[in-house]
Assembly symmetry: none
Homo-oligomer: 220 residues x 4
């Protein structure tokens, strides 16, 4: 619930609110959630201290807003990507697309991880997003299993989750925490590992080739 503001915002109001959200994201990126001070946010947004609380109930609430904008942006890159092509191309495409989105938001991804370590709500929020992504990947695996490109004894959900964890955590360690030496090479390696892990590098079992027209990605 937002204090004071019951209905919709005036133009001036929504502009102020936007300034605060932008400033908040910058501050979070610079010092993390724990060390962020509301006063830093308001100073940067050029509003009075109290103005913050005209739009948000707490530091946590702005963070939620920033996190949701980020998740929306991360998903946006996916659009129109799942058209035809070889499984290998699809996997590479999906990975690159995720990589690019991660690159744009690396610092915030790290902060969300931070908050998730002590805040149950954010753990769930992240969990939901992860689950949605895993579901999509598992769907692709299942289709490739039906067309014979992937061994049928692989558990689609677990495999999707594990490969997702690999890509996610690799990007986290490279982009969000460590410094990247050669991201290009890392992505190539991830492609290779995913493709081989799923067995997509193998010849298609004859007679079933080309069945899988619509495919999805192995990650995010």
């Amino acid at each position: 619930m937002t204090p004071l503001l019951t209905g919709s915002l005036t133009g001036r109001g929504s502009r102020t609110r936007e300034r605060i959200v932008t400033a908040a994201r910058e501050v979070f990126e610079e010092v993390g959630y724990l060390d962020a001070r509301v006063s830093q946010i308001t100073t940067r947004a050029h509003v009075a201290y109290g103005t913050f609380y005209t739009y948000f109930d707490s530091k946590e609430e702005v963070f939620r807003e920033v996190a949701e904008q980020l998740f929306a942006e991360m998903l946006g890159g996916d659009r129109g990507r799942r058209t035809g092509g070889t499984p290998l191309a699809l996997v590479r495409g999906a990975n690159r697309s995720y990589y690019e989105a991660y690159l744009r938001n690396a610092r915030m991804m790290a902060i969300i991880e931070q908050v998730a370590t002590f805040n149950e709500d954010f753990r769930e929020l992240r969990s939901r997003h992860r689950a949605a992504s895993v579901r999509r990947t598992a769907g692709a695996i299942r289709r490739w299993q039906r067309s014979g490109r992937i061994a049928p004894d692989l558990d689609p959900e677990l495999a999707a989750a594990a490969l997702g964890a690999m890509i996610d955590h690799s990007l986290y360690l490279w982009l969000a925490q460590g410094g990247v030496a050669d991201a290009e090479r890392l992505m190539d390696t991830l492609d290779h590992l995913v493709v081989h892990a799923l067995g997509l590098d193998k010849r298609i079992s004859p007679g079933r080739a080309g069945e899988s027209r619509v495919a999805e990605s192995a990650a995010g």
Copy 2:
């Protein structure tokens, strides 16, 4: 700076210190680093508040001690494991051994992750341990590349890091954060993915070590 005591401790002293470390680990596991209070630790250790500072300079310092004991314990399980056997058996063995260690320490692993999100020192500590583990895996990959079991174009370090990230993060999500449904099945999947990702499921090219390019088959 170490407070008062550096090298030698009397028998009573070292017992007191041990009680504090044990209590600290319990408290950290129960409430996390951020919410742990020095008073909780001393109460549980049955020592006076001030006694804590006779042995440790700060909350961070006990945490470091606990973390180091944990890393030592995690590595301990590894000993004498990398003897002969098929690559597949080796991978499985290593994964199981890591899984078991993780299971024993899941809660503390989560707390270390928490601290690593805001403390540079612990980020490095964890990084060093990860690097050691990656080095060992990379060494194995390199050996298998020389013997022709793994494609030579795979970057050993990056592959080792990525697969390590997969296992680590999967266990983190399953054991440390979420609830585990079927760990056995998860481990089987991880084995499968690692083995196939590295190409260890394929036949060894006869007499042509180091050139496994052509050694592809449709064998399952």
Copy 3:
């Protein structure tokens, strides 16, 4: 200082003002003065936040308005009551009338008490009203003393004040704070106590009976 508007209000204006006063009273009754928020009042009155300050300078000022309306209402019940009858009937009548008024306004009486504990102005306001009531009762006592119905050594002002305090505080404790069990019985007891305290239960000294035609109440 009155904001903007002093004397005349347009029809719309006075209706708005009235809505605010009504809403304010409701809010004060529900949560007390300290916990009442200007925003609650404006929301309930269906006016914009700022509109409040078009009509009132402060939260204190609406409260004063509400309190004055309440005092006026409390006194209103008294009208046309002070006609003949035995002193006993007069006392009973006055007590009942005050009780009924209190019953209608119990919650606000409690809130006024609250404000009087920290606001000098309201302490005086309440004091003035109390004094007026005490004056009337003291007048009745004096008349009854002259007619020999009440012992002449009783201080009329102090007795009036003390008996007023008894009735006021009893109603406060029963109606405003505690829950009422049997108000009828309480009122009977108060009547009894007042009548006996003043000595009105005794035989009238012969030859002066009936002198006191017009009497006033012992309370309110």
Copy 4:
């Protein structure tokens, strides 16, 4: 619950605690509960800000402590008062004793009244003390009814409560809020009113005289 301090206090500790309680009472008396600042209390007690929280969880908790000491002190004056004497003398004695205690604690009584207007807990605390006092008075009334000195149709509990309210509120208005002009005269009037209200001024019904040897007071 008190923070940090689990067991009993050291000599130094209990001295510090006492300093804080004393300072708190002074500050409450000077500015009331609402306007009292923890920093005022610690400054006056010559301790650091944080020291306050070594002994108390909140401002409310010190207030409770001060209030309880006060109630204990108010009751203390009663001791050894309930020996023989005429009912009239007993009533006078009890009233004087309560008056003197009130005089010593007038300011704090006003502050407790303040807090009781917005804090349910204190309302109950005060209520309990009032009830205990009412019980004692009602007991005396009942005994005097049995001995025929008081009319049997008077409800002992309600009468005790109402007369208690009279004395309490009169002292509150005179001592705690207004300035006292002539307390002696007020007390005489209260005595008179109580005695007559109960009918203790009347001749004892023949044949039952002297029955009531041990009596209690009509107030506090």
